[in-house]
């Protein structure tokens, strides 16, 4: 136990400033998130009927045509204003993993090489890989603990912003819960790899901003392609003209038309191919190419959304997180390879 405490104490002291400043920053962000969450929930506690009247929480649930009462308008303005600020704060949950990856990950090995202490450490430790793991472990655990705090706070804030349960909901995907921690792990390992490769602190930080950014943009694009391939068309009205329950939690990939032969056609594509020059739509989502077609009942297609249902949120959550962790694992392997081979100066 005392050996463990010694290890933690030394590791903390080796990156004292960064760990303290990052902790203060994360604590502030998490506290802000929790404050906004409780403030938003307090609005509902004060007047649930005002929020329900405006469709908040139930979303596109076809609220009463008269809208919320006049006396609700002031409360609703305050709610929207708070909601807007809270949504901006949610972006910190997206940025935190990358920030920690750069600030905590990049200097781990870079500073040892830059400062010349790698010669000391690598000659004392018989295995550079075990040195690396020992060196990274504390910082990684520390960072993941901080990100877990952000993940929980952002989960609560997201639910408060949307005013609904988000267990099967893609709202703020990647900015709450498990992905925040997983992406942080991936970013940290990438930052460490860049630092080991570059061997100087400031260049490593700058390079890791670019590398981490590019990697995660690439992963995001790849996920988008994957999602597109798995999304399904959903109409807004069924054949009988009954409204199909709108899945508020679904992940929307595209909007367009379902042609009579069942194919999906985006509006842009329809215009580009000259199939449509203008559109007419009835109140059950049927689209017609002209007023005459509307009169004649000649349907061009049905308005549809292409989406992944909200019930698949846990699956995609795990998938996104697993990819981030795998990328991090690969980066860690790369770091070990670099550390084993490179000169300490």
């Amino acid at each position: 136990m005392s050996s463990l405490l010694t290890w933690a104490r030394i590791a903390f002291r080796q990156q004292r400033w960064e760990l303290i400043l990052v902790s203060v920053g994360v604590t502030g962000v998490a506290a802000g998130m929790l404050w906004f969450a409780s403030t938003l929930d307090a609005f509902r506690a004060v007047s649930p009927e005002c929020l329900a009247g405006a469709g908040i929480g139930s979303g596109f649930a076809f609220p009463d045509d008269t809208g919320p009462p006049v006396e609700c308008q002031s409360l609703l303005e305050d709610f929207y204003s708070t909601q807007s600020m809270a949504t901006n704060l949610m972006s910190m949950a997206w940025a935190a993993p990358f920030g920690l990856g750069v600030i905590l990950g990049a200097p781990i090995v870079a500073r040892e090489i830059d400062g010349g202490t790698a010669q000391l450490a690598w000659s004392l430790s018989r295995s550079r890989v075990s040195w690396l793991l020992r060196r990274i472990a504390f910082v990684a655990l520390f960072a993941l603990a901080l990100l877990a705090v952000v993940a929980v706070a952002s989960e609560l804030l997201a639910a408060a912003i949307q005013q609904r349960d988000l267990d099967e909901d893609f709202a703020f995907f990647g900015q709450r819960g498990l992905p925040v921690v997983a992406r942080g792990a991936g970013a940290m390992m990438i930052g460490t790899l860049v630092g080991a490769f570059v061997g100087r602190v400031l260049p490593a930080i700058l390079a890791s901003v670019l590398v981490i950014g590019l990697v995660f943009v690439g992963l995001s694009l790849a996920h988008d392609r994957w999602n597109e391939s798995e999304a399904r068309m959903q109409r807004f009205w069924d054949e009988a003209g009954n409204p199909v329950p709108f899945d508020m939690g679904a992940l929307d990939v595209d909007y367009g038309l379902q042609t009579p032969d069942g194919e999906f056609l985006s509006y842009g594509e329809a215009y580009e191919r000259g199939l449509l020059t203008e559109t007419f739509q009835d109140d059950q989502g049927r689209v017609y190419a002209s007023a005459a077609d509307l009169q004649a009942g000649k349907v061009f297609g049905h308005d549809v959304r292409v989406s992944i249902p909200g019930e698949r949120y846990p699956e995609l959550l795990i998938r996104d997180s697993a990819v981030a962790v795998l990328v991090g694992g690969a980066a860690l392997g790369g770091t070990a390879a670099v550390v084993r081979r490179r000169r300490p100066r």
């Binding site: 400033w17 960064e18 400043l21 990052v22 920053g25 006049v70 308008q73 002031s74 303005e77 600030i103 200097p107 500073r111 100087r200 602190v201 400031l202 260049p203 930080i205 700058l206 390079a207 842009g268 215009y271 580009e272 020059t277």
Partner: protein, 307 residues
């Protein structure tokens, strides 16, 4: 040239990073500026494929690159000065090269002017280029009239002033802390706080008035607040406004009530035509703050231990 060469070699990574970011964003802004007229023309055509309901940069096919450009410039105007400014003094102290440099120079202030001056010039040039690009982009987005306060703080002189203050303050922070990474983190906190606070400063004592249609036509105004007036022009509250308008709609339903019986909202602010006046005041305030920050850096350098 020797100073510039040495300044580059002493901070190769940060100067290189700053150059790539500033010049890259400027190139993007330039491409958008040149592409916008044809993109808007395309929106105006009967066969427009995209939803160009709002005839502006962001309602055009260039919406995503335009958003990226705005976001990038908004971050870079603070990130670049931090990356340039923090290492100037922090690395000299952390690596103990100040122990060589300060005795050689004789006067620490002379050394500071030499060391910081070249970085300031590099920063000024890079941010200046980016500011010009942002200015051109904003102008292209407001081709119909004057820009007024549009994108104030994120283009032209106002951007350069803010960036230079952050750069000098970053140097001062680096001098005080004496270690690179902690200085960078503190600098980030300062930059975030400054970016929020500086938006609260305008209009620097220039009195707000109720904005008229003429004020709006003279360029994007700076809005300081809003209010409501009854049909007779009397100032009223928001609740009174809602009550008057609901009653009017109920009375005239299903027709729309005439404007003469409706309460209306008004905006208060500074007309776009007075942009130069506000900009001049901002220049004085931020320049003064930059001088104070420079003085702070100089005091720290002259008094602190070199390690």
């Amino acid at each position: 040239m020797t100073s510039a060469r040495l300044a580059f070699r002493l901070q190769r990574a940060s100067v290189g990073f700053a150059a790539v970011v500033c010049l890259g964003l400027t190139a993007l802004a330039a491409w958008l500026t040149l592409s916008l007229p044809s993109a808007l023309e395309e929106c105006a055509s009967p066969t427009a494929l995209h939803d160009c309901g709002v005839v502006s940069l962001f309602g055009s096919p260039l919406g995503d690159p335009a958003s990226l450009s705005s976001l990038g410039i908004g971050v870079a105007m603070y990130a670049v000065p931090l990356v340039l400014g923090v290492p100037v003094l922090a690395t000299e102290i952390e690596r103990r090269t100040a122990m060589i440099a300060w005795p050689l120079a004789g006067s620490r202030l002379r050394w500071l002017v030499w060391r910081a001056g070249s970085v300031l010039v590099i920063g000024l040039v890079l941010v200046g280029v980016m500011a010009v690009g942002a200015e051109a982009l904003t102008r292209a987005n407001h081709a119909q009239g004057d820009m007024g306060f549009a994108s104030h703080g994120a283009r032209g002189i106002s951007m350069v002033l803010r960036s230079m203050l952050v750069l000098v303050m970053a140097m001062a922070i680096g001098a005080m802390v004496g270690r690179l990474l902690p200085s960078l983190l503190i600098g980030i906190v300062f930059a975030v706080g400054f970016s929020m606070a500086v938006d609260l400063l305008p209009p620097y004592g220039v009195e707000s008035t109720e904005l008229t249609a003429g004020d709006t036509a003279g360029g994007y105004p700076f809005t300081t607040g809003s209010g409501y007036r009854a049909p007779d022009g009397r100032p009223i509250s928001e609740d009174e406004t809602n009550a008057i308008n609901q009653a009017a709609f109920a009375e005239y339903s299903p027709e729309f009530p005439p404007d003469s019986v409706l309460a209306y909202s008004v905006s208060y602010g500074i007309a776009g035509s007075r942009y130069i006046e506000v900009l001049a005041r901002e220049a004085a305030v931020l320049s003064g703050a930059t001088v104070v920050a420079s003085g702070l850096a100089a005091i720290v350098v002259s008094r602190r231990r070199p390690e």
